[in-house]
Symmetry: C2
């Protein structure tokens, strides 16, 4: 992926700017690929993410603020995100008995089954996106990302 080709410019881009633009181009590619593989399951990346967090709870319920805390991309509106999952019967939501301000959200068996398939799909996407990167490349990338 050559930056200058993609954005069709012939002039030299300063290294810092080039890095940011390059980053965004890669981001587009990642998003497109992941959106594509999740499409058959009719969930967005964010929704998938919430399902994964709920599974990680091992039966324990999560409330909205916990979800928000753990999401890769903090959302301003987790309520409606959970709504979507509920409408697909992938999650349950009840108000917390001990503190009625909170809600208890749990993944349903149906959600868990769907999630397993999504996992496979995502693994495929990851492999595709990263197919030209060696283990060493990946470690280097993670090391560099730590500096952000």
């Amino acid at each position: 992926m050559n930056v200058e080709d993609v954005i069709k410019t012939d002039k030299e881009i300063p290294l810092k700017s080039r890095t940011i633009i390059h980053f965004m181009l890669v981001n587009n590619r990642i998003n497109e690929t992941i959106a594509q593989v999740l499409k058959p399951y009719d969930v967005s990346l964010q929704q998938f993410n919430v399902l994964r967090i709920l599974r990680g709870q091992n039966g324990r319920p999560a409330n909205l603020s916990t979800l928000n805390e753990r999401m890769v991309t903090k959302m301003s509106n987790t309520t409606r995100l959970v709504d979507k999952l509920k409408s697909k019967a992938y999650v349950d939501r009840i108000t917390c008995p001990s503190n009625r301000r909170k809600v208890e959200i749990r993944i349903t068996p149906k959600g868990a089954r769907a999630l397993e398939k999504m996992d496979t799909a995502l693994k495929t996407a990851e492999n595709d996106i990263l197919k030209d990167l060696s283990e060493k490349d990946l470690e280097q990338l993670n090391r560099l990302f730590d500096k952000f």
Copy 2:
């Protein structure tokens, strides 16, 4: 930025997955920072991007498909993006005389002046985002991004 801390998990994440998640976390940080510095000018990153492309035209007009081609993030709706810029008087739009299917879009002097200030703001954002990365780091990153 430690991935495990941010998404609050204690279990080990496979390297590939970790890389993608790490990438997304960095992406959030970049987007937030850039959105922040552009906010005073009331333009989105996409709108800023269009203004830059128009400036790169050096007076020559651009039509919608050209813009679309050169944008970092291809959008499904460039018409409405240009609408927003027009409503701020940052661009002009006329139908192309030689081919009335096309439109000619130009940056206005007002747009050019605003853009100069935005440039400075973006430079600040870039410096902030990349403050802990050396020149060598940046080159390494660009090299790795080429593998995507």
